[in-house]
Symmetry: C2
Subunit: 144 residues, 2 copies
């Protein structure tokens, strides 16, 4: 039971963007290098997060990417709903003939809701605010 790397790196990318000064642009290449993920994979992740409003992509020569809204209004449970396939098992009569009578699928659906409700208690702001250790790991010290 793992998050897909799509969601995993999506959340990591958001944490990086939230660490930048408000409004500052960065590039997909920089985010890619922060986490050692393939650029192609990150392009797809950023595209999806842009569609969902979590990332703003600014076109043009001086363009780049940044958070699409304030970190305090980005709820982590919502991000997971937007990025992650949430079917814990492959139900449906084509995959499992007991589906119509299966109470396990209902129990799993309730447990998934409990999982997401817990993640709804956290915003992107909560993950990064005052997190100096994270800042040191993600943002290089700039010359004065």
């Amino acid at each position: 039971m793992q998050l897909t790397s799509f969601t995993d790196f999506g959340l990591r990318a958001l944490m990086y963007l939230a660490m930048l000064p408000p409004g500052e642009l960065t590039s997909i290449t920089v985010v890619t290098e922060k986490y050692g993920v393939s650029r192609n994979h990150m392009v797809k992740i950023i595209h999806r997060m842009s569609q969902a409003g979590y990332v703003e992509a600014v076109r043009g020569k001086n363009g780049g990417i940044r958070l699409g809204k304030p970190a305090a209004s980005i709820v982590i449970g919502e991000v997971i709903r937007a990025l992650e396939p949430l079917h814990l098992v492959n139900c449906g009569e084509d995959n499992c003939h007991i589906t119509p009578a299966c109470r396990l699928k209902d129990a799993l659906a309730n447990a998934m809701q409990a999982f997401l409700a817990e993640m709804d208690n956290h915003t992107l702001h909560d993950l990064v605010a005052g997190n100096n250790s994270l800042h040191r790991l993600l943002i290089p010290v700039r010359p004065a």
Copy 2:
């Protein structure tokens, strides 16, 4: 975010065993055929569930497998803990350099606990008791 097929078929196997008359033996081959999974995969699943006490394997010519304890004392959350890798993301500094400062991993761990706590509300008995539709799908009608 999916359960592994190991856990998925483990839970399905337990539901089948719980549908049989108490104490009745069946075989891994029969369970395999019920769900269209490879016999090799099911052998490993049954072996793990036997180690965990959920399945009893009776050796010998008239041997077979059956539930290792009453269905009412098999808690689904516990079965998932026994069968499923529960690390939602690959943390650890070898995999992700922000691990020491990452609050996301703590949020995910709490959400996983919420998921398991919800699954702890269900026993194997709850999934099968009075479930005539499931019985019809799993147990063939025997001649009178």
